[in-house]
Amino acid sequence: MTTPVIKGVSYCLAHTPGLVRYGSKPHREIQTDPLVLDKILNGLRSFDEAVAYLPNQVFIGNLRPHLLNQYERPWTTVPHADAERFSPWGEILPEEEFYGWLKLADVFNLVSFEAQFLAEQVKPKLALHPLMMANDMEKIGSGVSLVEIEEKVATGYALPLYVNKSQLIGAFEAGHEEDESLSAHTLLENLSNKATGIVAMRHALRSFDVQAENIQYVLGCDEEAVGDRYQRGGGNMAKSIAEHAGCMNASGADVKSFCCAPTHAVNIAGSLVQAGLYKDIVVIGGGSTAKLGMKFAGNLSKNMPIIEDQMGAIAILIGADDGKSPALRLDAVGKHDIAAGSSAQAIYEALVINPLERLGKKMTDIDKYAVELHNPDATEPNGNGNVPRGNYRTLAAMAVKRNEIERSEMKRFEEERGLPGFSPTQGHIASAIPFLGHARDMIMKQEIENAMFIGKGSLFLGKMTTLSDGMSFLIEKNKGVNPDD
């Protein structure tokens, strides 16, 4: 029986200010009051500002999370002087290139771009992109005329796409005129998720010691509902993405559990590896257009730029023990059972205390806890508090209750074992896993020994249950015994 290991993690951001208007909250607000659109357009930031934004540099892996604590907030006021668009494991995509990836992902010709825009702003940049594969430029095509785009939009079945706030450069058509599940808006959500997922998956396969053709299975963990009117949510975004990343020997499926789907997916992938069914698996989660601008009003009320102008995507490589990558402890999986109770204490008892007790470990034996890592620059101006801090305080209080630390040591517990929130508020993307890449790197560089990841999901939002959900996993330093040696 092999031990599953985390062989690599990639993170991508797609900076898409032109799509903020199609986020669920902005879209509804603009329908109620069309003047809101101008306020949103005037609150958008440039690509260079998004790259220099400290939490973004942390998200893609160029800066360690704890360094954020050295800077005053909001972090929008302290641009990083040495910011890079690329990191060893990922990147921040500019909008023009994202549109190129969107077209590349579009196998049903849903999206059309203006020819000059493609020729001047998209293709020359993507031609230099390190992830481009054979035939990619061909798939992007040569575009259509602006008149043709205007005609498509005029039908009422296509969404106009813009750059530079209001420059029309494309149209996204519905997949069926009478099917809400295939409306232009829904398909834009799904195809954007697919496109960002492709970028993240290609980065993972390029950056780490894994060959695309050796990937046997992919697990999707996003929150989109792919399907037509007869099977909305039918899914398998995972396989749709893997097709574009060269994983030709893979099949896959999606795992659904709201924001904690990624932690479920990591444990399921680890189980498939440990059982010997597959040797290499990718867990993939693309970005969410629905959450763009979700808290724009909070940012604007504080004279901040709208920071929810970007989608996040993550790809996690889980494989058989290589003797070096951090091990996933399947004997320390935490799950939030139906009977567990819904208080914060009951949830953490199920997700943290129970698995640690199974291993005979204390809370203070874990070097880092990753919880909901939402960026407080998005949540606090909107009156939603500092989400990770609230979670760490609960954890610290539980350590006090268990007599592991003194009450006076709670702040220290939070500082030493917690993390600042640095993730875009992209639901599944923000739930614990933004730290997985750093944790892997920190364990391999002897900075920490282990880390626990605690994901939570708001099942009740779907109106099928009043329950919430949660799942946790623990990774630790590899013992260094390669079974192939």
């Binding site: 208080s343 909901e372 939402h374 939603n384 989400v387 939570k456 708001s458 009740f460 919430s468």
Partner: protein, 42 residues
């Protein structure tokens, strides 16, 4: 706090105190819970 016979709206938060946990406390007070909902702010 005396809540016996009072009508109570329970509004919880996923990352704070969820509605079912507040409801469990309210039941000890004999309050009449007429609405409960948990919000997720992220």
């Amino acid at each position: 706090m005396k809540l016996a016979g009072k009508k109570v709206f329970v509004l919880g938060e996923r990352d704070g105190v969820p509605a079912p946990a507040i409801e469990a406390c309210m039941k000890q007070t004999e309050a009449d819970i007429i609405y409960k909902d948990t919000q997720c702010f992220v």
